[in-house]
Symmetry: C2
């Protein structure tokens, strides 16, 4: 036993916040925790999503003994329909709502539903040599879990996304007792959420939000529109209860909100009294002052229900100046511009709008702040800590917290995605580093985008395209007729310059090599290079040059 | 006199924060206040800057009697070199440092320096029928001014960017006495900064920053690198004084920092004791622990000195793990991704990094918060207020503040860029609305970009390009030889689909109209449309289609 090891390899979710996917290996067995989506930033043109790179899993001879999903957020389960078809079969487990969301996602993509439900009080779950125990934690989606992982070598506490909400709206608190129990078994390493390590103190409670909603409803003359993360069922319940207090009906608008509502209803997590709900198609029968709408699109997404309402493009819902819109969600970093511009548009319509720029009353984070993270270290009492789920700067702040708790530098493990950490019974070393590539999913087709396509798109976007269409006499390699040059995405003056001088330049270059053409591929390349060089010299840009050579 | 009017028209800087440019008109005279740049967001591909649209000024028969520039920030003076060549001659005035910065900018673009300096105690400045008085206010650049504008009809207080810094590092406070004096003359309308109307209370003082720098220097073993807005001369002075306290030399790195330093030195606003400064070329002679560097690039700009240092691309400066980097500037909204990714890279190198995510000690805003804005209303005592320099949601918050001060709805004027407000002696109405267009400046060439070019770029970026190269027999309008189809920026599968089926589709469509071709323009258009339709039907994308028809 003494020489045995557990390998931990993050394929995603370390040094970044999304596309969470973690591997635990023992001998030839692999346990997977989570398989989430990433979200594209503005440099990834025409790309909407990113996936964890699973090349390693596809090429390894080891056996995947199972997967556990920690909670029902897309960045923890959303990659399932993309990756499962490429992997051999293995069992997948998750807590009830998580499984509900994940199976719905699989169904949507035409992949068979196969995530099995585990209950928090269902005891241990054995996957190969790994023994898992799901522990209830509070977070911004119900049924969130941390996972205690027993292995033949050492024990791990996989502490992904959590906060310590002491007044959860559904009454389901973090299971402190169970954490204490598993910690008694001895834990070698705590993998811990680190997203809010920069924030001092404790993350505040959700409890104030209901009161703030009630106060707002007292003032609202027209309809109240609330936008939030669809999966935040506790938030939806608070909104429903507040609406009911004022005798208002609720209306769910937008695909993601409706889907989340239905999944939560299936499990009895969301309760709407009979007659309380009004369907969108019946919204015309009800007065504005009698309704609260829960609407998708809190991140300013271009085609969301909220954007369409605000821009006057929604066929059933019009925004009036006496309405109020509440953003019960902060902008995710990177979405500030679209969220702010949406709020501006609402302000222009004269409607009242509440957002994090002017009030903290309607949203709190679902992640643990510094003092909460410290408390988790105290509860789990690991020998080592390894921050996950944060950017590198947040991992560094987590390290500072751990140092204050007496952890030595060697026991605070900072890794990048793809870095293997080899755990022995009581210590760790760094192992191999997988060379992970970015896997992009095309915005429209949903297919994987090769990175050269992305490079072409970036070039096209910033520097345009020039098509050089040229007829060449095969007997002497000289130009016949006037070449045709098509320029797009460049300035008028630049296009004029290219049209005027590039042909001259090409004629010059070709006249120096008067020979019958034997190699047309070389000729095409030569014309492309001469064009690129001339264009860069003349306008200091490198558009995508497409030489088209016609043999005559 | 009774029927006379003053027209106020913002060409930029209302409903957005940048490209500030305001017109005041009396009879056939126009006074301009500011002419600033805008900054592109990520949807404006290959565009770096925006300009105010001055078409109105170019086409009007009225006479520009002069321009006043309020302060030395690019979004208030940076458009000068772009617009002056297109306008008739008129005098331009600004306070000393503002004029220094503006003239430097003109020189850089090869436009003759023509901004004249006015002193705060220089009394009134007459431009046509307008009488101007520059009033010193505190802001994040020295010599910032508000302008009291007397006209034959009514008086205005142009209160662009300010804060009430009670402990300015250069000792030059807001001239409250002068504000009180001009307010006694009666002010019809206060045009007021509204950028921080969402923030409650007063904007904090700069005074704590020096102490925070000293504390950080006590801990720093290697070099201390501070990055800030170059024009914030008070900040530069604080850094220099703190460095000197520890016997460290200062080194200025990056073009914008060096230029701002020199301009401030020319006026005696920035003082460096003899021997205190070390030039970049001599930096190798000095140990890390003996230097503080002031480095450009606080917004994570890709090619800035700071980015190059962090990424190991700077030829003279290497970042070591014992160094400290301080961000003495918050990310401007929209720059969060690049700033955060730069901070991540620093954290990866193991260097200590201080930024607004973990401490407020190193930066305060230069703009007035809610209570300061209210105080300005109290001091100026205008009949009406008109918020400028903010987004629409911030203007709405300013309106809320004004209502609390007893202003009636009709006396709180919210406008968009291009909206004329016609002021009589004691009232106002809305006038014409100029149809302003977006004026883009190309990133590389510095030339104006037409909006159709931008549309092409967006199309190219998100959906690629398809060149359809086709030879047509002029006698019957049919395809000869195999058409050549070039696809870029699309997925492999999509390109295959297009290559395989588009030709078939084109042959089909053309076979239905066998006639000698007479109109080749129509033929080209027809082929383009058939291609676009087929491609959209087949892959649900609308790439830029370039049909190339060869007549045979």
């Amino acid at each position: 036993m003494n020489n045995e090891n557990i390998s931990y390899i993050p394929l995603g979710g370390v040094g970044d916040v999304t596309k969470n996917m973690h591997l635990y290996e023992y001998k030839d067995e692999i346990l997977i925790v989570d398989s989430g989506l990433g979200f594209a930033d503005e440099t990834m043109l025409g790309v909407e999503l990113l996936l964890p790179d699973i090349s390693y899993l596809k090429s390894t001879n080891k056996k995947i003994v199972g997967m556990a999903i920690t909670h029902g957020h897309e960045d923890h389960f959303g990659a399932l329909p993309f990756i499962l078809p490429d992997l051999p079969s293995f069992p997948i487990y998750a807590t009830p709502l998580t499984a509900e969301f994940a199976n719905e996602k699989l169904e949507e993509f035409g992949v068979s539903k196969r995530v099995q439900k585990v209950d928090f009080d269902g005891g241990e779950l054995r996957l190969g040599s790994f023994v898992l125990n799901f522990i209830r934690v509070t977070h911004s989606v119900p049924d969130s879990s941390n996972i205690f992982i027993k292995t033949p070598v050492a024990n791990f506490y996989h502490g992904s996304d959590f906060k310590f909400e002491l007044n959860p709206y559904d009454g389901k608190k973090t299971d402190f007792k169970k954490i204490a129990e598993v910690s008694k078994q001895g834990i070698l390493c705590l993998m811990s959420d680190s997203l809010r390590a920069e924030q001092k103190g404790h993350t505040p409670s959700e409890a104030g939000i209901y009161d703030a909603l009630v106060q707002e409803l007292e003032k609202t003359k027209g309809k109240l529109i609330v936008t939030t993360y669809s999966s935040n069922i506790a938030r939806l319940n608070q909104i429903i209860t507040a609406a009911s207090k004022f005798g208002r009906k609720v209306c769910f608008v937008g695909r993601s909100v409706i889907k989340a509502k239905e999944a939560a209803q299936n499990l009895g997590y969301l309760k709407i009294e009979k007659g309380m709900e009004v369907a969108l198609e019946n919204i015309h029968n009800i007065k504005d002052q009698n309704v609260v709408m829960i609407v998708a699109g809190s991140q300013g997404q271009e085609n969301s229900a909220l954007s369409r309402i605000v821009n006057g493009d929604h066929k059933d819902i019009k925004l009036n100046s006496y309405d109020t819109i509440i953003f019960s969600a902060d902008p995710i970093p990177g979405n500030e511009i679209s969220v702010n511009s949406l709020i501006d548009s609402i302000a222009r319509k004269g409607a009242r709008v509440m957002y994090s720029g002017i009030t903290d009353a309607f949203h709190v984070s679902g992640h643990a702040a510094a003092d909460d993270l410290t408390l988790m270290m105290d509860l789990v009492k690991p020998k080592k800590v390894l921050p996950i789920g944060g950017t590198y700067k947040q991992m560094v702040q987590y390290k500072e917290l751990a140092k204050k708790q007496g952890f030595e530098d060697k026991d605070i493990i900072l890794v990048e995605n793809g870095q293997e950490v080899i755990f022995s019974k009581d210590d760790s070393t760094f192992g191999k580093k997988l060379n992970l590539k970015n896997v992009y999913v095309d915005q429209i087709s949903g297919e994987e985008v090769e990175s050269f396509v992305l490079r072409d798109r970036q070039k096209l976007a910033s520097e345009g395209v020039v098509v050089v269409l040229i007829e060449i006499d095969s007997s002497n390699g000289q130009i016949i007729n006037t070449p045709n040059i098509i320029v797009r995405g460049l300035l008028g003056q630049e296009a004029k310059d290219i049209n005027k001088n590039l042909i001259k330049q090409l004629k010059n270059s070709l006249s120096q090599k008067k020979n019958p053409v034997t190699d047309w591929i070389y000729m095409r390349k030569f014309i492309g290079e001469v064009s690129e060089r001339y264009i860069f010299k003349s306008i200091r840009k490198r558009p995508l040059v497409l030489p088209v050579v016609i043999e005559v």
